[in-house]
């Protein structure tokens, strides 16, 4: 295809892409570089490489950011959200894909409307309901709320994965005497497992990164997620940027490693909600 393009155009295109890549990576590179420097060196020149490799900032950030508790809470919150979403959305997706209930268009329409309901329209009563039920600070309950918010989109995605499964497969299993439970568990779920992975990865990412609901419902450092713990460092540690940057790296590194290793499912998840195939 490059036959029609001049070498100048080609070089210019690559240059633009390189500038964009540099823009995306510059702040994160600065984080990595400065996480190894003492505050005075950061202030003197944030662009300079560290004079020595010193990981003391990481130890301080881990303690003061409450990352031990934070990661435990983040795992519980994210795990709850993913398990609840996958369980509910795969069942609903199966029913809606097969048009197994006459009310399926109404259910679809409800979920379509629910996608567009902003968090701010239900956040405040939900907060007071949580307060009354003594659920404030409960990471599992917040995981369920995040699952509920992401349910409509997850149902739609699972439905499209079930639509790709040939009907004959289910029919054959039913003729062989399998009941619905066995058809789902042994025949359909293995086939839609790439869909489960995609939805799980996306909902997991959303839950892990969530800010509005977790910061409202999870107050007190014992209930902080990893990101909220890092947020609590801000202000106190503005006078020690090296430690702040180490805290940022503790959050950035695992997400980037996971993203790079299963990027296919991330990209598929981002795209499947937005591009109509």
């Amino acid at each position: 295809m490059s036959a029609g393009r001049s070498p100048i155009q080609s070089v210019a295109g690559h240059l633009v892409l390189l500038v964009l890549a540099a823009t995306a990576l510059l702040p994160l590179t600065l984080v990595a570089v400065n996480s190894l420097k003492p505050h005075s060196e950061v202030v003197r020149n944030p662009l300079a490489l560290p004079t020595s490799l010193n990981f003391a900032n990481y130890r301080a950030a881990w303690d003061f950011g409450h990352f031990g508790t934070g990661f435990t809470n983040s795992f519980m919150l994210t795990g709850t959200a993913v398990v609840v979403v996958l369980g509910c959305a795969s069942l609903a997706g199966y029913v809606l894909a097969g048009k197994k209930i006459p009310a399926w268009p109404a259910v679809m329409l409800y979920f379509l409307i629910a996608v567009t309901v902003p968090i701010q329209l239900f956040l405040f009563p939900l907060y007071f309901a949580f307060a009354m039920l003594h659920l404030l600070g409960n990471v599992i309950a917040v995981g369920v709320v995040i699952a509920a918010i992401n349910m409509p989109l997850s149902v739609f995605l699972m439905r499209t994965f079930f639509l790709k499964v040939p009907n004959e497969l289910e029919d054959a299993a039913l003729v062989d005497g399998a009941n619905t439970y066995h058809v789902l568990r042994d025949v359909l779920l293995p086939i839609v497992s790439p869909g489960l992975l995609t939805v799980g990865v996306i909902v997991g990412l959303i839950a892990w990164n969530e800010f509005l609901i977790s910061s409202t419902f999870l107050q007190g450092e014992g209930h902080f997620t990893a990101t909220l713990g890092f947020l609590s460092m801000n202000g106190t540690f503005s006078t020690n940027q090296g430690v702040m940057m180490a805290g940022a790296m503790i959050l950035i590194a695992p997400v980037v490693v996971i993203f790079v290793s299963v990027q296919r499912y991330f990209v598929e998840g981002f795209v499947s909600g937005a591009v109509k195939g």
Binding site: L30, V145, M245
Partner: protein, 315 residues
């Protein structure tokens, strides 16, 4: 229609006939109960967490409920009239509109441009795509604090460094004129990679024979985009347009984290404005009213979204 009689009706059918009729006759109603049970968890969870509280908010917007008291009185449109009389509300609304204009132009253009460049580079595009998406997969808290401390900080950040070099860079977040754009810049830095990936996926679905035909006809690069790629990705562009419009009226994370709506309300948006009513001044009725207004701004694009997605309903 009671469930037991329906179950009974299924029982009367000879089993073999039932099997043969599976595709012809509508399924016995009793068998459907099972499927209602399967769809129930997703539906009930969404109803109880999203729909019921949303309806409560809509009602509370017309009361003086403070969020704590057991009772509240109906005050009609008082919340709305006092909000409309508040200058901060109009600042916030104007900022949401500025936000929308910024997001509908800058990331849209960069995303589309980058996607077009990547389309012609099948070997390097996976790598670029990966890099462009990294800011998008990081948490708002992480991104905001990184920019706050190492980029925008006039003491330790890049801005501070420029100042030490004698370049008179203003502190982006402390300046009334620049604060909103400085906040939006961080959110756009995090967001544009997503658009690139979505547009690239959409561009790649353009039928190959259309592209080849255009090449044979000797179409220029611009013509190729205008007459082949653009019609093919138009549904995706429309959907992104609608989604960005909706999210522009809901944006919260980066504003709250970077400026909290300040300085002097210069970055206030509707969501931070509502949040302050609910959790700082305990005027829950007013918070609900602002929430309702935000939803109405989202409703118009939402109707458009539903219309665009009608194919899903018919599929």
């Amino acid at each position: 229609m009671s469930i037991t009689t329906e179950l009974g009706r299924t029982g009367h059918q000879p089993p073999i006939a039932a099997l043969y009729n599976r595709h012809i006759a509508p399924r016995a109603r009793g068998a459907r109960l099972k499927y209602y049970i399967l769809v129930a968890p997703a539906l009930l969870l969404s109803l109880s967490v999203v729909l019921v509280p949303a309806v409560l908010t809509a009602v509370a917007a017309f009361t003086d409920w403070n969020g704590v008291a057991a009772s509240a009185s109906w005050i009609g449109l008082d919340n709305f009239s006092s909000i409309f009389a508040d200058g901060v509300f109009w600042t916030a609304l104007a900022n949401n509109i500025r936000w929308m204009v910024l997001f509908l132009t800058i990331p849209m253009a960069i995303g589309l441009g980058a996607a077009m460049l990547l389309l012609r580079r099948p070997r390097s595009r996976t790598g670029y795509q990966l890099i462009f998406l990294i800011p998008y997969v990081l948490a708002a808290i992480t991104n905001a604090l990184v920019w706050l401390n190492i980029m925008y900080s006039p003491i330790a950040g890049l801005v501070g460094f420029l100042r030490k070099q004698g370049i008179n860079a203003p502190a982006p977040l402390a300046n009334l004129q620049t604060a909103l754009y400085a906040v939006a810049a961080v959110d756009m830095w995090h967001f544009w990679g997503f658009l690139t990936v979505v547009y690239l996926a959409s561009l790649r679905q353009t039928p190959v024979d259309h592209i080849e035909a255009a090449h044979i006809e000797g179409a220029s690069g611009m013509q190729l985009f205008r007459y082949v790629y653009f019609p093919s990705i138009r549904p995706t562009l429309q959907l992104m347009f609608v989604m960005i419009t909706i999210f522009s009226f809901l944006s919260y994370d980066y504003v709250k984290l970077l400026t909290g709506g300040g300085p002097a309300h210069s970055t206030e948006v509707l969501s931070t404005y509502a949040y302050t009513f609910a959790f700082s001044t305990f005027q829950f009725g007013k918070a609900a009213a602002v929430g309702l207004i935000m939803s109405l701004f989202g409703l118009l694009p939402a109707i458009l979204y539903t219309w665009l997605s009608r194919r899903d309903l018919q599929a």
